[in-house]
């Protein structure tokens, strides 16, 4: 039995009568201010990272470089370029207005989740490739057992731990998002 129109109109009138006064915009202003601060911090952080990376490279090449240093620098810069290029390519077609229809937004949300999953797989693959490349270089140039080997080895273990933890959390979030989107699609298909 469906809801009679009159009853529905009463329900809607009841619903719209729920007006709890004006919306307080103070929390939003605080949120925006915090976001601006975070954005500035991220931009400054990225700039500092690039400068530090450049400065480190310059320190290495300043007084002439040995063969292993050239290989090491090329590896670092090579992986950085590949990671940035993939990040830009992977975002294609996912930047749209929030004002898109719900159906379009759901499609975009699914695309974003799938891209995030691709990004996750790529990050793990890149990390494995980097670890293999660095370890191979250490062994090839005879630094594996020296102090450099110890420092690089510790950094690799730290990087692997951080990336593995971040990937696990991200994978869980993506699974949850895709499950909700699948559920929504099933509901809509049930119409």
């Amino acid at each position: 039995m469906s809801t009679p129109l009159a009853e529905w109109e009463d329900l809607a009138a009841d619903w719209r009568a729920d007006d709890q006064g004006p919306v307080d915009l103070a929390p939003l202003r605080r949120l925006l201010a915090a976001q601006r601060r975070r954005l500035v911090a991220v931009v400054l952080g990225e700039a500092a990272l690039v400068l530090a990376f450049g400065w480190l490279s310059w320190l290495v090449v300043r007084d002439g470089v040995e063969a292993w240093e050239v290989v090491w620098l090329l590896t670092l810069w090579g992986f950085t370029v590949v990671a940035v290029a993939f990040a830009l390519w992977n975002r294609r077609g996912t930047w749209r207005s929030l004002g898109a229809s719900v159906e379009e937004y759901v499609r975009l949300a699914r695309l974003r989740a799938q891209r995030a999953r691709a990004s996750l797989v790529f990050s793990c693959g890149l990390l494995v490739a980097e670890v293999l490349a660095v370890v191979a270089q250490l062994i090839w140039f005879g630094h594996a057992s020296g102090p450099l080997g110890l420092v690089v080895g510790s950094l690799l273990v730290a990087a692997i731990s951080v990336v593995a933890g971040a990937c696990w959390l991200a994978a869980r979030r993506i699974r949850r998002e895709l499950a909700l989107l699948d559920e929504l699609s099933r509901q809509e298909a049930g119409d």
Binding site: T3, V23, L25, S97, G99, V102, E103, R176, L184, E188
Partner: protein
């Protein structure tokens, strides 16, 4: 008054009702409202009047509500506690019976599947079939069928003891 402030003043109550239909927990409800306002603040400069302002606002709000569901769910508050928070502020709806009916309606909406909840909240806000179709990105015919089934499901939910 900026354009954004005017839009929030005009549609704020509808946004608050939408947040209440999606989230039972008072904290999650307020969190969703702030997320909707933030999304609206970002989206509003790109609004070119292709649809009515109300349709645009509700479209942004529904999209954000959906994304909000991606977050892990907190433990649900007991219904009475949620109701106490929802009606804590004084307003024109002093009538306790009306407030109780609204709370029951909110509870029923929250219990329904997302697709039904979307179409029902839009209809409760007074949107026409064409407007609901525009918000959801479906045909008007489809919106009509979906609304009819959702109303039936809502009635069943409301009649549940």
């Amino acid at each position: 008054m900026t354009d954004f402030e005017r839009v929030v003043a005009e549609h704020g109550p509808a946004l608050r009702r939408l947040a209440a239909a999606w989230e039972r927990d008072a904290v999650a409800r307020e969190d969703l409202l702030q997320e909707i306002l933030l999304a609206l603040w970002r989206a509003l400069p790109r609004f070119r009047g292709e649809s009515s302002e109300k349709t645009f606002v509700l479209r942004v709000a529904h999209n954000r509500a959906l994304t909000h569901r991606f977050k892990p769910r907190p433990r649900a508050e007991p219904l009475d506690a949620a109701a106490a928070v929802a009606d804590a502020r004084p307003g024109p709806e002093a009538d306790a019976a009306a407030a109780q009916r609204r709370e029951r309606l909110r509870g029923a909406l929250q219990a329904l599947p997302i697709a039904a909840r979307q179409v029902l909240t839009l209809s409760l806000e007074g949107l026409s079939g064409a407007e609901i179709a525009a918000v959801l990105g479906i045909t008007e015919n489809n919106a009509g069928v979906r609304l009819s089934r959702a109303r039936r499901a809502l009635r069943e939910e409301l009649e549940r003891p």
